[in-house]
């Protein structure tokens, strides 16, 4: 009797611990608790010129609050644009129709996410609507390319001083370019 009691207790403890661990893994280490699979939601789409490395599952946020997730990315071969479909929680159903969607970067080199900025319209976006105003992802390569092009344009003497200056002094360069343009 004593032995069977210990046995049951040990087995029970082990099974409870095991299932507690499984629950912890599925709810605490994943963002599954935040997915809107069961809660009511509606879908929006937006077309971007360039989505950078936006991934399916990336958050959609408004004023920094997560209101949904990216559920699909496809390519529109007529307009040559990326079509991003988003699933927004039904709780946030008062997004003006003239809101705009931009792609931002989390941290310096983090993943991309979509930020919505509310417009001023009286009507709200409904299921299957499209957000018309979009702003593409900030692509680091393009920016560096532009910067280099600027340096090249600003030409002779400033280019020379740039070559002498350490890397940390770079932010000054566009300003120098600006003053030159004013003259």
């Amino acid at each position: 009797m004593r032995r069977s009691h210990t046995l049951n207790l040990g087995t029970g403890l082990f099974v409870v611990l095991g299932f507690a661990a499984l629950t912890f893994l599925t709810t605490q280490t994943t963002s599954h608790g935040l997915s809107f699979g069961s809660s009511p939601h509606y879908d929006l789409t937006a077309k971007f010129d360039n989505i950078g490395d936006l991934k399916v599952g990336a958050p959609v946020s408004m004023s920094g609050v997560e209101i949904g997730r990216v559920v699909g990315i496809s390519f529109d071969s007529k307009e040559y644009k990326a079509v991003v479909s988003m699933r927004i929680n039904q709780r946030y159903n008062q997004i003006p129709t003239d809101s705009d969607a931009s792609i931002y970067t989390q941290g310096l080199l983090g993943g991309k996410f979509i930020g919505l900025t509310a417009g001023g319209a009286e009507t709200y976006l409904k299921d299957k609507d499209q957000i018309d105003f979009t702003q593409s992802a900030f692509v680091l390569e393009n920016l560096i390319g532009q910067l280099l092009a600027n340096f090249a344009k600003s030409g002779g003497d400033s280019g020379k001083s740039n070559a002498d200056a350490p890397a940390g002094a770079d932010p000054k360069a566009p300003e120098a370019h600006k003053t030159e343009a004013h003259k």
């Binding site: 087995t11 403890l13 499984l22 893994l25 605490q28 994943t30």
Partner: protein, 255 residues
């Protein structure tokens, strides 16, 4: 010519061995529904191979997690992204280290015990005695041990992962000063349900493989003291190789 002959006979021998393992697995599966009715036997085995392995699994999980935290921190610090430590530790544990290390420990702790127990039953004619009494030793002795192992493994692996993540957090956050908020939030953002599923499927398959090898080796052990020893050794060695081989296959399949 002689070498060729040896090669041929060893090939036939290994094929025969594989075939008898598969037949044994089928017999276990066929007998499983009947054994489920004697659930107290299965419960006893869950206690033996699960509850009694808890301490070793938890301790190993803690240390594996702490090592991951230390090594991961050293590596990620070079790129200035210590915050990704949570992600690195969680994915490493859930997808690979959890199932594999748990299975290796299980083979060493529970598998060897199963094999030597069954081998000793064979050596002391307990299994023959059961056959004499018209009790099917497969259903009475092997199936509960097999099922106990199969049920136990995913649970042990989950416990291992959780303790490991806690260990990584202990080193990373408490000792090395990684921000606790970004540790957890980055982990949550990048670990998906598919990663957890991969870990669970792996541990289930390892559970079947480990228990099958242990029960098979024990049941067909040579009924001598030496034979029991050999069966135990073979269980651990075969399990380790099979686990790592299956791990490669499963990882490739999940990619």
């Amino acid at each position: 010519m002689k070498a060729f002959e040896e090669l041929r006979s060893s090939l036939i021998e290994s094929l025969t061995g594989l075939g008898s393992v598969v037949r044994f697995l089928l017999r276990l599966i066929v007998n499983s529904p009947g054994a489920l009715r004697r659930y107290d036997l299965i419960l006893q085995q869950i206690y033996n191979s699960g509850a009694l392995s808890l301490v070793i699994i938890m301790l190993s999980g803690l240390f594996v997690g702490m090592v991951l935290g230390l090594q991961g921190f050293q590596l990620l610090q070079r790129f200035g992204s210590e915050e990704a430590l949570g992600t690195a530790a969680a994915i490493g544990l859930v997808k690979e280290l959890g199932p594999v290390v748990t299975a290796l420990l299980f083979a060493g702790r529970a598998g060897s015990a199963l094999a030597s127990e069954l081998g000793l039953m064979r050596a002391t004619d307990q299994i023959s005695a059961m056959e004499m009494m018209a009790v099917d030793p497969i259903g009475r002795v092997c199936v509960p041990r097999f099922l106990g192992g199969v049920i136990t493994m995913p649970l042990l692996s989950a416990i291992f992962c959780v303790i490991g993540i806690y260990g990584a957090q202990l080193v990373g956050v408490q000792m090395m000063g990684v921000d606790s908020g970004s540790f957890w939030s980055q982990m949550r953002a990048s670990v998906g349900m598919s990663d957890i599923n991969e870990g669970i499927v792996k541990s289930c398959i390892f559970g079947v493989a480990c228990s099958l090898i242990a029960v098979y080796e024990g049941y067909y052990a040579t009924p001598t003291a030496e034979g029991v020893g050999q069966a135990t050794t073979r269980t651990v060695v075969t399990s380790a190789v099979v686990i790592l081989f299956l791990d490669y296959l499963l990882t490739a399949a999940f990619l």
